[in-house]
């Protein structure tokens, strides 16, 4: 199907561009929006729970299930031997083992699967299984993995020009390193799946998954059945964030395995601590760079190495580290660049997709470099950032895609003025001179984020529309609803196409038997892909209806309009419902599929050249923070954001995505700290020890505006993807904290600040900065807080 355009003003009374509330909002506030665990359990439903490995690396020598089996209510304990088909459920490359019967590669890796008559009994029994192992040495430190070249996939590099000689010949050189923390998704609804036999002996799966098609495929493969043996349904998730792209599949597979053998419905639901332990997280990274720049801070060459901690298996890590590399420039032009990406294998759970998909861990290097260059030259960081932005003539990325849309300079200028960057900067400097313990910081950071799956074949989507003979519309598409408002936006698009009220369109659960071979709802692409597929389906039916109206009423096809719930033609008008009824009576098909594939994109990985991205989304954030130099506690007091969503399909939902992403990015960079024990066991295994932002962390003043500009590419109604890009606006918080600390050295020193910037990390940076100031600025510097000591 062709990629085609539609003017949003073409239909009157349409709903595109309006702030419709989320299609499930009323159900949600009444407690009537059902998630997988809320559906009535079929009679005889059993409950399954995995048995977990007690070491991070080793080999199983023996397993004792006697005590577990003797527990009343235990039905059966499954092992790898019970899997009739493939045991490896790796989504792209092999390596993810459903149940291991030999080698253990991470602490708490699933070994067996207990099925019992209740959730409590299954959990209890799983803990009674004794697994004896011969322990081997685990790799738990990324530096050790780098040293040993312990990779899950081979390294890859991007190269443009001769970076090393550009750096060498530049007036100034600088280098730095950064450890970037991972992140737990903490979707509020944990992993869950329920399976049962369908009426023909196949398997029906309800799974909280961003990728029902992959769940379908993997269930079929472990059972050695064709794909049509399995149907997966997904109405809504209680949050996904990438954590249910591949990580939802194991639980659905285990439940299906038990249903297959026991011919009973089976549910698997992970308790929160086990959800933390057993599912992958955002990759922690260790990165370093060397850069050369001139006296104005203009970058001449960079060499950046990013090392992703992938955990024990490839999962999606190849594409994730690629995206980190693709975004190591963020919004800045590097005349010469070498960007190397390593995929490190460690004995932890396999890290996975998380909003930004590696992009944030690469992009932070660009912001680190800008702040470091500014400190080195004694310039304001914003001046350096502006100077280095992509602009016409300086517009080719390290992967040789030309940047064609240049809006960031204007966006920065707008925010600079509206949020009074320079006035506030001066006020903060004055405040910091007299405030003994609290220091303020301010930073503005831009985001340029590439939109498209970098795996080309995923950039396709399908949709299915039926118009019933009363004019009500049934909409189904291959995307999944996880709170982002995808169903709302796609329904708005379809309502708009038919010129009917939003309420006319009903969206139903995503099902693999309605729209086949779908891509995950990921890469911010949900609306771009499924919205366009739905629009194509709508237009197919609309074309039929126009043709019918033209011949039935003997009018010109051009005169037929769909507006205000009516069909208007040269000789009269009728309601949309009347037309549906009439078309049915005259035997016109009122149902159609729609299909879409993103144009223009290509990437030659061997050459590391191409156009992996259809377009870029942009944003700018300005954050003001306060830190306490006695304790390292920190808080964001104000944030101002200007973000580019193209022509907004739904401003309220888009702003909701931007606000939520900013806070999630802020949490990643400040309070959310993953910690593993020396044994390799996850120490921060629940919300008591892993702290996502709470309501008081929302900045006191929080202003979000949409940048008014259409997508130059022909996306659906010229809108832009919004899920991931604003996550990286959170960098402004991290950069502002560095700015506050560097006030202790008269802004001449940019301290190392690994993420997350917890109170302890900030306090360490404060100590280091004061030390630098003492060594380099002399004793006559005004340091009123000289008494602050450290042990």
């Amino acid at each position: 199907m062709r990629h085609f355009e539609m003017d949003k003003l073409q239909a009157r009374g349409g709903s595109v561009g309006k702030s419709k509330h989320h299609e499930s909002a009323i159900k949600q506030v009444c407690g009537k929006a059902n998630y997988v665990d809320d559906f009535a359990e079929p009679a005889g439903c059993l409950h399954g729970y995995p048995v977990l490995a007690p070491v991070a690396a080793g080999f199983i020598t023996s397993i004792d299930t006697k005590e577990a089996e003797s527990l009343k209510g235990v039905v059966r304990i499954f092992s790898a031997k019970d899997v009739p088909g493939k045991i490896d459920i790796g989504p792209v490359f092999p390596g993810d083992i459903l149940l291991t019967d030999h080698e253990i590669e991470y602490f708490h890796q699933p070994v067996l699967f207990v099925v019992a008559d209740s959730y409590d009994t299954a959990r209890k029994a799983a803990r009674l299984v004794k697994i004896n192992c011969e322990e081997t040495e685990a790799v738990l430190d990324i530096h050790e993995a780098i040293e040993k070249q312990n990779w899950v996939r081979p390294p890859h590099s991007l190269q443009r020009g001769d970076a090393d000689s550009a750096i060498k010949s530049a007036k100034h050189q600088i280098s730095g390193e950064l450890s970037v923390g991972g992140q737990e998704h903490f979707y509020l609804e944990g992993q869950v799946a329920m399976t049962q036999l369908n009426e023909d002996g196949g398997i029906f799966v309800q799974s909280s998954s961003q990728h029902p098609t992959e769940v379908q495929h993997l269930v079929a493969k472990i059972l050695k059945k064709p794909f049509n043996f399995v149907t997966v349904e997904m109405r809504r998730m209680g949050g996904g964030f990438g954590g249910k792209e591949t990580q939802a599949a194991p639980w659905a597979c285990l439940a299906a395995l038990a249903t297959y053998h026991l011919e009973s419905p089976v549910k698997v639901r992970l308790a929160r601590a086990d959800d933390f332990r057993l599912t992958g997280k955002r990759h922690p990274f260790y990165n370093h760079y060397t850069a050369g720049f001139d006296e104005n801070g203009l970058i001449e060459g960079v060499h950046i190495e990013v090392n992703g901690n992938c955990g024990y298996s490839p999962d999606l890590s190849d594409a994730i580290v690629d995206r980190a590399m693709f975004h190591a420039d963020n919004a800045y032009y590097y005349p010469a660049a070498k960007i190397v990406g390593n995929r490190c294998k460690l004995n932890t759970v396999s890290h996975t997709a998380f909003r930004g998909f590696g992009g944030p861990q690469g992009m932070i290097m660009a912001e680190l470099i800008m702040d470091d260059v500014a400190a080195k030259l004694g310039q304001d960081p914003l001046t350096i950032r502006k100077a280095n932005l992509y602009r016409p003539g300086r517009d080719v990325t390290p992967y040789h895609q030309k940047v064609e849309q240049h809006v960031l300079a204007g966006m920065i200028e707008t925010l600079e003025k509206d949020a009074q960057y320079w006035e506030r900067k001066e006020a903060i400097k004055a405040f910091n001179k007299t405030s003994p313990f609290v220091k303020k910081g301010l930073a503005m950071t831009p985001v340029k984020f590439g939109i498209s799956f970098t795996v080309q074949h995923l950039n396709q989507a399908g949709a299915l529309i039926h118009i019933y003979s009363d004019g009500s519309i049934h909409l189904n598409h291959g995307g999944t609803e996880m709170g982002q408002g995808l169903n709302t936006k796609v329904a708005q698009i379809v309502a708009h196409a038919f010129g009917v009220d939003f309420e006319t369109v009903g969206v139903t659960a995503t099902r693999t038997d309605k729209v086949p071979n779908t891509s995950p709802t990921a890469a911010s692409s949900g609306t771009d892909l499924n919205g366009m597929a739905a629009l194509n389906a709508a237009n197919t039916i609309k074309d039929r209806l126009i043709e019918f109206v033209a011949s039935h009423f003997e009018v010109e096809a051009e005169s037929v309009e769909f507006n205000d719930n009516k069909i208007i033609h040269a000789k009269g008008e009728m309601s949309f419902a009347e037309l549906a009824e009439l078309a049915y009576m005259k035997r016109i098909s009122l149902s159609s599929t729609g299909y879409y594939a993103t144009p223009k994109i290509h990437y030659d990985r061997a050459k590391a050249e191409g156009r992996p991205f259809f377009y870029y989304s942009h944003g700018v954030a300005l954050s003001e923070v306060e830190i306490d130099i006695l304790t390292g506690e920190n808080t964001v007091t104000r944030a101002d954001i200007l973000h580019d969503v193209g022509n907004s399909l739904n401003p309220a939902l888009d702003i909701g995505q931007i606000e939520g992403a900013f806070i999630q990015g802020m949490g990643w960079l400040t309070t959310e700290e993953l910690q593993w024990k020396d044994s390799g066991e996850l120490a921060s295994s629940g919300p008591a020890t892993y702290k996502i932002p709470a309501i008081g962390d929302t900045p006191t003043e929080f202003n979000v505006s949409l940048f008014d500009s259409a997508n130059p590419e022909t996306s659906v109604f010229r809108s832009k993807a919004v899920g991931e890009p604003p996550f990286m606006l959170g960098f402004s918080v991290w950069s502002a904290i560095r700015n506050a600390i560097s006030s202790l050295a008269d802004y001449k020193y940019a301290p190392d600040l690994n993420t997350p910037a917890t109170p302890e990390t900030v306090l360490n940076a404060v100590v280091a900065t004061k030390q630098w100031a003492a060594d380099n600025l002399g004793a006559n510097e005004d340091t009123q807080d000289e008494g602050v000591s450290h042990v």
């Binding site: 929160r272 806070i663 008591a688 702290k691």
Partner: protein
């Protein structure tokens, strides 16, 4: 048997596991699945519901008061005599449209306060409590306090804060529930009281809800191995995370003598089972310095059920109340069939999660002596996140002085040792010193003589030591007023930022 009101339905339960939580009961027995399980440890608030109880004021008038609780932390047996309201009962029509919703629901829809919707039922309940307990919008600070225990991973909270305000802009909704509760109470009173001791039973396992202290101590004498529970905010986590299956649970939450609170001549007597929400305001009037400590203790839901007896009885090294009580030289009464003994709170802890409490003893009450005229009190809590987080370091310093010379010092810290502990070396440095910054910094310098803390998931040992030392400097500034206190605002004052 226990009996309570669930929404508009009188509910009786006799046979049930003694360790069943309201959340599990709602989701597995009643089919009410609107209340969600996000974490089952009281950290996320997705399972928040309202609990109503009859309150008698000092004039003897009664009314029904509703407050939020985490249903994952509340044992079913503790519901006896109460009114539980779940999210299903908030809208009064079956298939509501926008206009049929309760104002808090409508505001959440109109402000786009739900995205994935999984935390939403809990947020609705917290907003509902805010709404029915305030005639008009009580301000952003109150809204943040009401919602501090409700995590949302999607919205970034901005639309939820807006909804909290907007709910008060519509026509005021009548509160229909207390009328139901009054009827329920009348029906209870009209029944013969054959069951003076409410209980639950499941095969051999039992739950008892003694109404008097004599019933209580007899039960603890009979079942010395029983688990004693008050609000359940810690105990229920043992159940859900460690899968404990206690044979006998004795709840003190309705033992009348343990639920009394009094303030007489500046002296506080706090029953071990009085939830924080019922005494903190009065305590903070006398000790305003401790306000932040209590505002940041758990969440509203936790403070609505958690108790001093529970916190001390658990003997956690990081519970916030113990350092305060030690610094204020509080005592506690321990009671059994043999009688009552009074000990100092600081003598209660003997080791990591170990106390002097005998198997048949219960904590009956905590007494705080009258505040001395010259007392200067500093309370500092440092944690990764401001709200609903466990202290990395909790530091309470109480000094008395005469003519600006320190005459006594009681310095108690949490998070620095296996038990909440005093700092004798640092105290010794303070006593006799002048009330100036130098004295406090000198005391801070010997922190390592008192403590060798652990490194753990919250922070390193080194961070705990530096922070303690640095906070002594801050206290020096505060106490000596070397600079005006409002010039040393802390970022942890973000709640007050929010109210600006």
């Amino acid at each position: 048997m226990i009996k309570f009101l669930l929404n508009d339905t009188v509910t009786e339960v006799q046979s049930s596991s003694p360790s069943l939580t309201i959340l599990e009961w709602l989701r597995t027995t009643t089919g009410k699945k609107g209340t969600k399980e996000g974490c089952a440890t009281g950290d996320c608030g997705a399972c928040t519901l309202l609990i109503g109880e009859e309150i008698t004021n000092n004039k003897g008038e009664t009314h029904w008061h509703y407050k939020t609780l985490n249903s994952c932390l509340m044992l079913l047996g503790n519901a006896h005599g109460k009114h539980i309201i779940t999210v299903e009962a908030v809208a009064l029509t079956k298939y509501p449209e926008l206009g049929d919703l309760h104002p808090v629901q409508r505001a959440m829809v109109e402000c786009h306060g739900s995205q994935c919707g999984f935390c939403t039922p809990g947020i609705i309940m917290s907003l509902l409590a805010l709404y029915i307990n305030n005639e008009t919008y009580p301000g952003k600070t109150a809204a943040i306090h009401a919602l501090g225990g409700n995590l949302c991973r999607c919205t970034g909270y901005n639309p939820i804060l807006k909804a909290a305000e907007k709910a008060f802009e519509y026509d005021r909704a009548e509160e229909p529930w207390s009328a139901m509760a009054i009827k329920f109470k009348e029906s209870l009173l009209s029944e013969p009281q054959e069951n003076a001791l409410p209980y639950l039973e499941d095969n051999q396992r039992k739950f008892y809800l003694p109404q008097t202290v004599s019933q209580l101590v007899e039960l603890t004498a009979t079942y010395p191995e029983a688990s004693i529970v008050a609000g359940g905010t810690d105990f229920a986590i043992e159940l859900s995370q460690h899968l404990l299956k206690p044979e006998v649970v004795i709840s003190v939450s309705q033992t009348s003598e343990l639920t009394q609170f009094s303030e007489k001549d500046g002296q506080f007597e706090i029953g071990a089972a009085v939830p924080y929400c019922d005494f903190v305001d009065a305590l903070c009037t006398t000790y305003p310095e401790s306000k932040e400590l209590f505002e940041r203790l758990g969440s509203t839901q936790v403070r609505n059920s958690g108790t001093l007896g529970g916190s001390l009885g658990n003997a956690s090294p990081i519970g916030d109340p113990a350092p305060l009580l030690i610094a204020l030289n509080a005592t506690m009464d321990l009671q059994s069939v043999k009688g009552t003994r009074t000990i100092k709170v600081e003598d209660f802890f003997t080791g990591y999660r170990q106390t002097v409490l005998a198997a048949d003893e219960v904590i009956a009450k905590i007494s705080i002596p009258k505040r001395s005229e010259s007392l200067k009190l500093a309370c500092h809590k440092v944690s990764k996140r401001f709200e609903d987080d466990i202290s990395t370091v909790c530091l309470i310093l109480a000094v008395e002085h005469a003519n600006n010379v320190i005459t006594s010092a009681r310095f108690a810290l949490g998070g620095m040792a296996a038990i909440p502990a005093r700092a004798p070396k640092m105290e010794a440095q303070l006593i006799g010193g002048r009330l100036d910054t130098k004295t406090f910094m000198k005391a801070g310098a010997v922190v390592e003589k008192d403590f060798s803390p652990m490194s753990d998931v919250r922070a390193s040992a080194n961070y705990r030591l530096i922070t303690t030392q640095n906070l002594m400097q801050r206290i020096g500034y505060e106490f000596s007023q070397a600079i005006p206190v409002n010039n040393i605002t802390t970022p942890s004052a973000r709640i007050s930022h929010a109210s600006l």
